[in-house]
């Protein structure tokens, strides 16, 4: 797109609104800024990292394929039950470049095969949390480096967590996973394989899951509130979206014929489930939210909140270590009062202080004991 053509376009819109500007006198031209941003971003291309997590068999791969209309899992090998008894969680990455109307998107899907599959699942989310932290750490290092031209942003922007529809709501594993990760990544809970639930059951389960999320203090991704001056339709869509959490989805990449139309769906003896029918499931809502409306917001929240949290923690722990060193050299028990860096009352200082105090107590006790023994000996001697 050329500068002149965009200018032309703007001139024509101004004309449409019936306002005629005298270009030479009153027209400055910064109203074209959005266009410039648009052009630049299209040239740069977009990237998005999506993580999918949940037990095997909940339809994660099918959903990812349905969302982006590709087949990412062609050569996947599924393990047998026997092999899964002691399976550990792996992290796999698939990157694809997709293009639509000139806009390029580099999509990375991070998968967590083996999550929740073993017989003993204690701390199985650790590798996932470590992976996310690693991406943050790498970005932090790159950002603090000297050459910042080509920083690769591999930070995870969104995590779709799949909740099983076969239970009564959240399970202990779900709660532990979400609590371990809610401050590292945007969690969007998904109610998987929703074609096993009737509409009443779906409603009940969503309410139950939302209640449990609040009860356990899990901070899932919050949609930004819309401004009060938006139109009613937009506001209503926004409320609908917020009340659909968790999204009850059904995934499918096979095309079936329903009522004369060819749609993506699942064929059953009793009917056809259409994936893109909002009366059947929330797939369309999820896709719109994820791709069409909130992708940029997800990236922003990752950048502004989760990454900044990580960075602040990182720096704090580094300065705390430095302060500890200096304390040891000084041989004092004062907390770092003469350091310019404002510090949260370091846990480290209190610990050393406590140790020193304890050692003092011990010495005093031993001295007293010694004294007592000496006295005893004296009295004994006198007695004889």
């Amino acid at each position: 797109m050329e500068n002149s053509s965009s200018n032309n376009r703007f001139r024509s819109t101004m004309f449409n609104h019936g306002e005629i500007y005298d270009q030479d006198k009153e027209y400055v031209g910064f109203a074209t800024l959005p266009n410039q941003v648009h052009r630049k971003s299209v040239k740069k291309g977009f990237d998005f990292t999506l993580m999918v997590a949940g037990e095997s068999g909940l339809g994660k791969s099918t959903l990812v394929n349905s969302l982006f209309l590709t087949d990412l899992y062609k050569d996947r090998k599924l393990l047998n039950a026997e092999e899964r008894i002691t399976q550990t969680v792996e992290i796999t990455k698939h990157t694809v470049d997709i293009e639509e109307k000139g806009v390029k998107l580099k999509l990375t899907i991070v998968d967590t095969p083996g999550f929740g599959d073993a017989v003993n699942n204690t701390e199985c989310w650790k590798s996932v949390a470590d992976y996310i932290d690693q991406q943050f750490e790498q970005y932090f290092r790159d950002e603090s480096g000297l050459n910042r031209k080509n920083i690769q942003d591999n930070r995870v922007h969104c995590c779709l967590y799949f909740i099983s529809p076969f239970g009564h709501g959240l399970r202990p594993l779900d709660v532990e996973f979400m609590k371990a990760l809610h401050e590292k990544v945007n969690i969007v809970p998904i109610l998987a394989k929703a074609d096993t639930l009737t509409p009443t059951e779906v409603k009940k389960k969503k309410i139950k899951i939302r209640e449990e999320i609040e009860q356990y203090g899990i901070k899932i991704y919050q949609f930004p509130d819309c401004d009060s001056d938006e139109d009613e339709e937009f506001k209503q869509q926004d409320t609908e979206l917020k009340e659909s959490i968790p999204f009850a989805v059904i995934g499918s990449n096979t095309v079936v014929e329903a009522k004369g139309k060819r749609v993506r769906g699942r064929l059953y003896p009793w009917g056809i489930v259409e994936v893109e029918n909002s009366a059947h499931c929330d797939f369309v809502k999820l896709r719109n939210m994820l791709v069409r409306t909130h992708m940029q917001d997800l990236k922003d929240v990752t950048r502004e909140t989760h990454y900044e949290n990580y960075r602040a923690q990182c720096i704090q722990s580094m300065t705390r270590m430095v302060v500890k060193e200096r304390n040891r050299n000084k041989l004092t028990r004062e907390s770092g009062t003469d350091f310019p860096i404002p510090m949260v009352p370091g846990v480290g200082d209190n610990e050393t202080e406590k140790l020193i105090r304890e050692k003092d107590e011990e010495l005093r006790r031993m001295q007293e004991m010694l004294q007592r023994i000496q006295d005893q000996m004296h009295t004994q001697k006198e007695a004889y």
Partner: protein, 427 residues
Amino acid sequence: MASTDVARQPDKGARPLSLAGHVGFDSLPDQLVNKSIYQGFCFNILCIGETGIGKSTLMDTLFNTNFENFESSHFEPQVKLRAQTYDLQESNVRLRLTVVNTVGFGDQMNKQESYQPVVDYIDRQFESYLQEELKIKRSLHNYHDSRVHACLYFISPSGHSLKSLDLVTMKKLDSKVNIIPVIAKADTISKSELHKFKIKIMSELVSNGVQIYQFPLDDETVAKVNTTMNGHLPFAVVGSTEEVSVGNKMVKARQYPWGVVQVENENHCDFVKLREMLICVNMEDLREQTHTRHYELYRRCKLEEMGFKDTDPECKPVSLQQTYEAKRQEFLVELQKREDEMRQMFVQRVKEKEAELKEAERELQSRFEQLKRLHADEKAALEEKKRLLDDDQSSFSKRRAAAQLLQAQSLTANGKKDKDRKNSGFM
């Protein structure tokens, strides 16, 4: 309900005879049937499956009643079992049904011990039956048989394969109970996926050596239907107690926006097959298998553990007594030995303690002697010093006396001189 446990063996001594007329013992089965109807039947089902997988709903649907169940929480710390007994009646047949459900199965983070409560429950039922059997005054006739006759294992419909927990649990249970695996909530799997899923499950079970219950093929009347049914395992079931109107009837079904899943429609799910196999055709066989295979295995293991052996298959009661006597003797001998050991140890301990005390006494005595010696030494030293002091004192007093004398003498001498002088002065 007594079931014959004497194996039918062709008696070598008896020769077959043909009858000239009608005797009437062909009514024996009827007599048996009448008797058993009079006594009533008893059946125990164990349902194992994750929380919320549909165990209670399926039971309600199978027996066409409402078993008063409540939703369990996912946050149970351990697996528990909940057993409830009901009395049902259909035409003139009474059934005492016990349904045992697992609570909290598959919810814990660490599921390595999840199978243990189930195994313990099954063993407990076997144990109480064994105890009743071994009693001196027993009433097996009236005994309420609580042994688990059938175990429905609910497989989660992931569409891929069994879960690791399923495999581990079924391996532990296949020698204790008749396992009938079912695919729960099967209305989430399409027909083609279901076919692949069933094949995968069966191959996994076979390759891991899990022996599930096979419907019996020895009775010709039911062999054919049982063979076909064996090929449909595991049954993909859907449960529902709600009724939806389809056509002009009310049927048990689940209503979705895209269609209605009818529970009793063979095209939609295998519920009818399960009901037929479990209840209509093979219930009695399940009970028999439990008694002749699983219970006998348990009994054998238990008695062998206790040390009993079958020296003579025909005279088992006798060898039982002998073994019992032998064990008793052994036990008494052991007891005696233990007593002797303990007595010895006690004596030894007493000796040791005595020696210790003696040693302590001796030490004390020596210390006393030592201190006494020290005391005497010091006393002697002091005496010596005192003597020296006395000597000094006496020599000093002597010298003083001498000095005084000298002084006195000199004084008198001086006095005389003075007197002389005075006197001379006078002169």
